[in-house]
């Protein structure tokens, strides 16, 4: 396979990776904000869902009570913005780096809860999912490497395209 073809495949894989990662973040935000069954899509019902998510955040026992609610209300919005940002591909190095840090933060929080023997809901994609070895493996084996791969890919491809463009810009000796 030529270097050009490899570069093309790399770009396609990067697009697929960032779309999947962006989709995961958007879905995570949606799952936290969506109204509970039987409730309409209103600001009040979204607030109820976010308050419910706040209970999940509180159960991690990592934040002071005053910080729980602001964090729980800000996180889904952050996830939504980050997901859309990843999908657009604009400033991908920064967005992918942020997504890796976010996944790392989630993984650390879950691992900490598991280590402390807390049997709580993960809260990752809405309520109900219990923290356990399976959830940790999913997060650690699937999401974290994906975010890392997109970040590394974004940096590598950017560096490569810079090298190509500087080559094209190089002055040519006329005959």
């Amino acid at each position: 396979m030529s270097g050009h073809a490899r570069g093309g495949l790399g770009r396609i894989l990067l697009i697929v990776g960032r779309v999947v990662l962006g989709g995961i973040f958007i879905f995570a935000a949606y799952a936290k904000m969506k109204p509970q069954t039987g409730m309409p899509w209103t600001l009040g019902s979204v607030r109820t869902s976010l308050s419910m998510f706040a209970m999940g955040v509180d159960s991690y026992q990592m934040l002071p009570p005053a910080a729980v609610s602001p964090f729980a209300h800000a996180l889904p919005i952050f996830e939504l913005v980050l997901g859309i940002w990843l999908l657009t591909g604009i400033a991908l190095r920064l967005s992918s780096l942020l997504s890796t840090l976010a996944v790392l933060m989630f993984f650390t929080a879950m691992f900490s809860a598991y280590e402390r023997g807390l049997t709580i809901s993960c809260g990752c994609f809405g309520p109900g999912e219990q923290i356990g070895p399976r959830r940790l493996v999913e997060e650690g084996v699937a999401f974290l490497p994906l975010a890392l791969a997109v970040t590394i890919g974004a940096f590598l491809i950017r560096r490569k395209s810079r090298a190509v463009s500087s080559e094209a810009r190089a002055p040519v000796q006329s005959t």
Binding site: F27, P127, T175
Partner: protein
Amino acid sequence: MLVDTRATGTAAYSRGNSRYNKRAHLDISVGEADLKRRLRTSAGEKARHARARTLGAAPAFLAVFILAFAFASTAGPQTAPLHVKAAAEPSAPAKAYGSPNAPITMEVFSDYECPSCRNLFEQTLRPLIGSYVADGKVYLIHRDFPLPMHKYGYEAARWLNASARAGQFQAVEATLYDNQNTWAEDGNIAKFVSGAMSPEAFKRVETLMRGCTDPATAGQQGQGCVVDPYIELDRALGNKIPVQATPTFVITYKGQHLPAGSGFVSWPILKQFFDSLLGQ
């Protein structure tokens, strides 16, 4: 002569329509071979841009697909509130606080030997009972879910159910949590139960507890312990959720039961959630 090939090429491309015109214009500064290379590069760039546009549209389509899938998954099956099913059991003792007509019902599955359950009771449920339950906003139900890992958890649940049959649920629940560290050491639960009620009431409880004192028969039906079916009824309800840990709580609002939560939750956060529900 040194020339910026990109700048010259772009200018020439914009000025002339024919390939020869472009070439004539550029011939001054660069050679023909170089010109051909640049024309090829220009065509290649156009193709790359076209590919990029196509690939750039893909995320948008995928985003729409993901959102459509997410919206489609909103409509889930609605389950009847658990407390309605439990209420259908006529002989079950009342293990609850407040009015059953309250708009919010909170059912807590707990084990009396579980430290998180004690923390939830002491730090969250006590203020809840004193305010929202007293005001008729919340109906709080206790559900037994003794875990096998706790040596005296099942026995404590037996004492509680016997006390509930004698109308002493609230006092005994409080004393079991208040003295959890002590009775969890030696299993002497009767000492604290007797201290929480009158001697007459304790006699009734002791009568109900006949045949229940053997920890080996915990959870075994037909062993002569009259309160075990109540515990098993709660456990069966818990297994339907399913309860995977204690404490687990199920909140029902106007007949709709919300997804179960587990672990400790502080009172200000729970209160905020109830306020958002009541503000609907």
